[in-house]
């Protein structure tokens, strides 16, 4: 799927306004132009940027608002109701714009913002590791073929065959203890543990995808030309082949990010995710499910946040894929 300019321009009966410039346009700019035309993608991107910025600036925002994700507030709870939030809408008040957590009175807005940091950190770090490992292994396997490919192929098969969620739960106590022994706090150990496990079980999918791409790429003329002209293998792999793989990598990344955020939520729900007092969206969701009947707003807040972000990522990822791949019909109108 090499997206050289000739292909792309041929595939793009672009509007008359762009006609005078398309001859010299780069692949990246072309994709960006296609993406910009997709309104849904732009909205999704705006949402994602907003979430990233608020997550990044969470400590600042929270302190400006005079909130804290960790401070208990008994005054916001009603002891006669078994420590449910006092007042309507889950304890919404000037002090607590989104209400408070039952039993503790911790501020939900602050926990939502801090939770975004944790959830995003886990998803982004894991996906970065997956992209690096998956790409490198995939390229090597695809290009080298022979026994290297066989060994890598069998080991990815092995990892893919693992019942991943079960392994995650089973390994949790052992591995987190090991990480704590390295001097990490228990809260951080859980976070790092999630990242490691997501990355470890996530890369084979990408590696397979990349390997398939490389298998067809290495038969292409420009690769053969490079080989014929005596270019070293490393150059061929990373200068000739890799640039042609960005599309599948980016697509894979944007599609796995929401999966990872949701997986963090699911694992926190199962009790092997992050632990107190660290907030994460998954943890909030897991806690709030118990209150769906009595404090529905509590469930609604992390639920909506998770839904919006996962949906935005999916829309955006889909649009990026379309923008990068000229053969999909949608952007060819």
């Amino acid at each position: 799927m090499s997206l050289d300019t000739a292909d792309a321009s041929a595939a793009s009966p672009a509007a008359a306004s762009t006609e005078d410039t398309f001859a010299g346009i780069s692949l990246r700019r072309l994709a960006w132009r296609r993406l910009k035309r997709d309104k849904g993608a732009m909205i999704a991107m705006g949402v994602l940027i907003l979430v990233f910025v608020t997550a990044l600036l969470a400590p600042l925002i929270v302190s400006v608002l005079g909130l804290s994700p960790y401070d208990f507030d008994n005054s916001a709870l009603d002891p006669a109701l078994g420590s449910l939030p006092a007042g309507s809408w889950g304890g919404v008040s000037a002090d607590h714009p989104l209400g408070v957590e039952p039993l503790t009175g911790r501020d939900l807005l602050a926990r939502l913002l801090y939770g975004a940091r944790v959830s995003m950190f886990i998803a982004l770090t894991a996906v970065t590791l997956i992209a690096i490992i998956g790409t490198v292994v995939g390229i090597v396997a695809g290009y080298k073929s022979g026994w290297v490919d066989t060994i890598i192929g069998r080991s990815t098969d092995l990892l893919l065959a693992f019942p991943f969620i079960l392994m995650l739960i089973a390994l949790s106590p052992v591995l987190t203890q090991r990480l704590e022994a390295l001097g990490l706090s228990p809260e951080n150990a859980r976070i790092i543990y999630l990242v490691i496990v997501f990355a470890f079980f996530g890369w084979p999918y990408l590696a397979r995808l990349i390997r398939g791409q490389v298998l067809s790429l290495r038969e292409r003329e420009f690769v053969e030309a490079a080989v014929a002209s005596g270019a070293p293998t490393r150059r061929i792999l990373f200068k000739e082949i890799l640039p042609n793989l960005w599309a599948p990598i980016i697509v894979y990344v944007t599609i796995s990010l929401p999966t990872l955020i949701a997986a963090e939520a699911a694992l926190s729900y199962l009790g092997v995710g992050v632990i107190e007092p660290t907030p994460s969206w998954g943890k909030m969701l897991a806690d709030s499910v118990r209150y769906f009947a009595v404090v529905p707003t509590y469930l609604f807040i992390p639920g909506t946040a998770l839904f919006v972000v996962v949906y935005a990522f999916n829309v955006f990822g889909d649009a990026v894929r379309d923008a990068l791949d000229p053969r999909t019909g949608r952007n060819l109108r």
Binding site: F72, N74, D78, A80, G82, L103, P277, R290, V294
Partner: protein, 586 residues
């Protein structure tokens, strides 16, 4: 020792330990004319037939083996259905429930003048589920199993502590139970527990006066086991019943089915009411699902009871509005437990530092996280007010440490104490079973102690492994969540257990010979009023030493199906009165 349930019911959140008797018993008339009728038992007459369903989050009962059974709710369940004991608590609401009545014995036992010898006579017609009559030798054999502490684990140790058998230098009994082929010195045990010629009367010789020994024999640890059927560690799975029901099926993680024991002779039993035809226990049901099923009250759940307690999120729905749907099938009352946090004396040997931890903890947040008004009251010691004879305010939070400590904790005072302690505060780790309530309390501890400059690491532990870990001195950390209920109406089942060197629940590894001597002195007192004063003083001394930080004198809340009769909060075990339950219309 009760281990916590799988996912943390609130009771489990407590350490469902040796939960036994409590509430003001005091002068209750221990009528010996129990006639077996519901009226005599203090409950309403029920109808026979139908199935009672018990729903529980836990994967299994802690133990079915009577000598290993020590969790309050387990004892309440099995003594109600399958396991007969010499005496047992009366099925009655309120304080009357903490009086004892004879079960397998003809009366409440006969004590010698010095209360060092107790005899009980077994009623005619008492038999095992295969029809073999229960004899004194069977009870004696059952009691002997307690001494095999390597195999018969987790059970109460009163037989070892009370029976007049020579002790070895390390404080353990010279008798090591019935499983050792050789090397066990049986003569001492044979002298301490004797049977009459007709094998009907069992006599216990004690090493000190125990005026309320007939309360101790409510424990299934003093119930019979047929020697031929004893499979040691595996007896948990092959229990031979003596009560009106026997175990038809027990699949851990799924269900237990109890059916009528045709060899149980009603003429031999004035205690058991035996109304339903069948009892079905369903294991491993999510706590939230149990609540929702009982709230919905549909189909089979109409005859269901919860083994654990209501979850905090549902308390307002059920008790907040006098809702007629729940009014007659729910209860909110004090349970026998005191919840506290142990400060491990090996990890924090410095007294000032222990006091600093105690005053820094925010008790108001703990109460809120446990459910506000439904949690109970702020505790000031390990003896609860409903143990009336032995309770006196300890003054822990008013003047014990030289100044009042507000419910929200006093970080400045804690800092001052740390400065006075003369050494740097070690970094602490708090161990707790991972469940939604305890992890909130853990977060509160971490934040409150941080304000006093104390760093706390949190170590959540999978609930079913909790006590296994914190009981291991190698793995126990500085702060350990726990809870305790007296085994009967005497703090002799509290103070020595929690703070005695050989106490069964000494999680803080307290080793204080002077304190120990005073405990022994108090335990031997025959004047109950003087003994009560002694326990009050020792409770206070334990708090002065900050061996534990008491947090809550707890309450319990239950909901049951609309077709269940005789359901209430039964004081001795803080549970349902299982043996009295019946199906209103089958």
């Amino acid at each position: 020792m009760g281990k916590a349930y799988k996912n943390g019911l609130r009771l489990a959140a407590v350490a469902s330990v040796g939960a036994l008797a409590l509430a003001a018993c005091g002068g209750g008339s221990t009528s010996s004319d129990a006639s077996g009728s519901a009226a005599a038992a203090g409950v309403t007459e029920g109808t026979k037939g139908g199935t009672i369903n018990a729903l529980t989050l836990s994967e299994q009962w802690q133990h079915v083996d009577p000598q290993r059974m020590y969790t309050g709710v387990d004892i309440a369940f099995f003594t109600g259905y399958t396991t007969r004991t010499l005496t047992q608590y009366k099925y009655a609401p309120g304080a009357e429930g903490t009086t004892i009545v004879p079960d397998m014995a003809t009366d409440l036992g006969t004590a010698s003048a010095d209360a060092k010898t107790w005899s009980f006579t077994i009623r005619d017609g008492v038999s095992f589920q295969d029809g073999t009559p229960v004899t004194c030798e069977d009870i004696k054999y059952g009691v002997s199993r307690t001494f095999a502490t390597d195999i018969i684990t987790d059970g109460p140790a009163y037989a070892i502590s009370y029976l007049d058998i020579p002790k070895l230098e390390d404080g353990t009994s010279e008798y090591k139970g019935p499983f050792l082929a050789e090397g066990s010195i049986v003569a001492g045990f044979d002298k301490a527990v004797t049977c009459s010629e007709d094998n009907k009367t069992i006599t216990f010789k004690l090493n000190r006066p125990v005026g309320d020994f007939n309360y101790a024999v409510t424990l299934p640890a003093f119930s019979p086991v047929p020697k031929a059927a004893d499979t040691g560690e595996k007896y948990d799975d092959n229990y031979v019943a003596t009560g009106p029901y026997k175990i038809q099926e027990y699949t851990k993680g799924q269900k237990m089915v109890l059916v009528r024991n045709e060899n149980w002779d009603p003429a031999s039993d004035d205690y058991h009411l035996a109304y339903p035809d069948q009892i079905v226990v369903s294991f491993a049901i999510d706590a939230a699902a149990i609540d929702q099923r009982l709230i919905a009250d549909a189909g089979e759940d109409k005859t269901a009871v919860m083994v654990g307690q209501l979850q905090p999120e549902n308390l307002a729905t059920i008790f907040g509005t006098d809702d007629p749907r729940f009014k007659d099938r729910s209860v909110d009352g004090y349970d026998p437990y005191v919840r506290y946090t142990v400060i491990n004396t090996q990890k924090v040997p410095n007294l000032k530092q222990r006091i600093a931890i105690a005053v820094a903890i925010n008790r108001a947040e703990v109460i809120a996280a446990r459910g506000g008004d439904f949690a109970g009251d702020i505790a000031d010691g390990v003896i609860k007010p409903n143990l009336a004879a032995d309770y006196a305010p300890s003054g822990m939070w008013t003047d014990m440490f030289g100044q009042a400590v507000p419910d929200t904790g006093d970080p400045e005072f804690a800092k001052k104490l740390i400065a006075e302690s003369g050494e740097p505060m070690p970094e602490l780790t708090y161990q707790f079973p991972q469940n939604p309530v305890d992890e909130k309390i853990a977060a509160s501890y971490q934040a409150a102690l941080a304000k006093a400059g104390i760093t706390v690491k949190l170590e959540p532990i999978e609930p079913s492994q909790y006590y296994g870990i914190v009981f291991d001195p190698e793995k126990a950390q500085a702060l350990i969540r726990s809870g305790w209920a007296p085994d009967w109406q005497n703090a002799s089942t509290v103070i020595p257990e929690l703070f005695g060197k050989t106490g069964g629940f000494n999680l803080g590894l307290v080793d204080d010979p002077a304190f120990e001597a005073k405990v022994q002195e108090a335990a031997a007192m025959t004047d109950r009023a003087a003994q009560g004063k002694a326990w009050q003083a020792l409770n206070k001394e334990a708090m002065q030493n900050a061996w534990v930080v008491p947090t809550v004198f707890g309450k319990a809340q239950f909901l049951w199906g609309s077709n269940v009769g005789n359901a209430f909060l039964w004081d001795p075990y803080g549970s349902m009165p299982y043996g009295a339950l019946f199906v209103k219309s089958a």
